[in-house]
């Protein structure tokens, strides 16, 4: 298998590593969205606690 010259191989290598980077970044972005949902749930619990304490 003849080796590709650097000019031809470069975009493929960069593409492969960018795919990996994109996967990790996409995962982090999805986890950030989930984190914000968890924050919403914490806020909801805080609101319910305030309601309960206010009603008591």
């Amino acid at each position: 298998m003849p080796a590709l010259p650097l000019d031809d191989a470069g975009p493929y290598v960069a593409g492969a590593y960018l795919v990996f980077l994109a996967l990790v970044l996409a995962y982090v972005a999805i986890m950030a969205v989930r984190q914000s949902r968890i924050q919403q749930e914490v806020d909801e619990i805080a609101r319910l606690l305030e309601q309960r304490d206010g009603g008591a």
Binding site: M1, A3, L4, P5, L6, D8, A9, G10, Y12, V13, G15, A16, Y17, V19, F20, L23, V24, Y27, M31, R34, Q35, R37, I38, E41, V42, E44, I45, L48, L49, R52
Partner: protein
């Protein structure tokens, strides 16, 4: 007592970033270009660790599935789910980077008569059915039990598949992990091993990250239901992810 999934996450995150950066730096600044493939071989340091760690993740999912079946502990079900989920993500990476390498080296994005490629795709597609299977079962107990059986069978299939492929005669796919070490020089081998370790640590970090997030969400939902005066029973709605720990 609930398991603490997030313990050591900060240390693991830092270790992942440092080791992954060091591994990639070694790939481009320390490891020599391959005499046969040239610069395109640099993909190997990413593609092979992705594939190996993904397959190990599937096996780990099976082991946790077995633990769940033996103990009934829902934490093992969550671990099994997360391990398979992460392995699928790395599997996508392995398939994508492998296709890019194949296009550059062979002139084709995919070669259907190559046992290594097709067997990995079969394993990947098998585990891609895991989440739909879970989603199709509403009862959490049955969902966890059936998913664990699936994970055990799938996890056992991975090494069998690996051995079958090794026994097959392949003329095209390079063999880099063999008893002779694939004839890699020391600098390439060290770089490869560091890349493998980096990928494994990244996998563990992402697993712990997701375990921690899912566990926290499950606990929060339980607390909200209790505060709202709702029954903390099984009326949780349909989801592929475990909803109890």
């Amino acid at each position: 007592m609930r398991p603490t999934f997030g313990r050591g996450l900060k240390t693991l995150s830092i270790a992942s970033a440092v080791i992954l950066t060091a591994a990639f730096a070694m790939v481009f600044f320390y490891a020599p270009n391959d005499a046969d493939q040239g610069f395109i071989q640099k993909i190997f340091y990413l593609h092979v660790p992705l594939a190996i760690v993904a397959l190990c993740g599937f096996v780990a999912g099976g082991i946790y599935g077995l633990k769940h079946l033996r103990s009934g502990d829902r934490a093992h079900d969550l671990r099994s789910y997360v391990a398979i989920h992460q392995a699928l993500i790395l599997g996508v990476g392995a398939l994508a980077t492998g296709s890019i390498w194949a296009r550059a080296a062979w002139g084709h994005w995919w070669v259907w008569d190559e046992p290594t490629l097709v067997s990995f795709l079969i394993v990947f597609l098998l585990f891609a059915c895991y989440q739909p299977l879970r989603f199709s079962i509403e009862d959490p107990e049955r969902q966890a039990r059936y998913a664990a059986v699936f994970a055990v069978v799938g996890g056992a299939f991975v090494p069998l598949n690996f051995m079958a492929v090794r026994l097959a005669e392949s003329l095209t796919h390079p063999r880099v992990l063999s008893t002779t070490g694939g004839a890699m020089p020391g600098s390439m081998r060290i770089t490869f091993l560091l890349s493998l370790v980096a990928m494994a640590i990244l996998f563990i970090t992402l697993c712990k990250y997701e375990l921690s997030a899912k566990s926290t969400r499950i606990q929060l939902r339980g607390m909200r239901r209790r505060l709202a005066g709702e029954d903390d029973g099984l009326a949780l709605g349909r989801s592929a992810a475990p909803q109890q720990v």
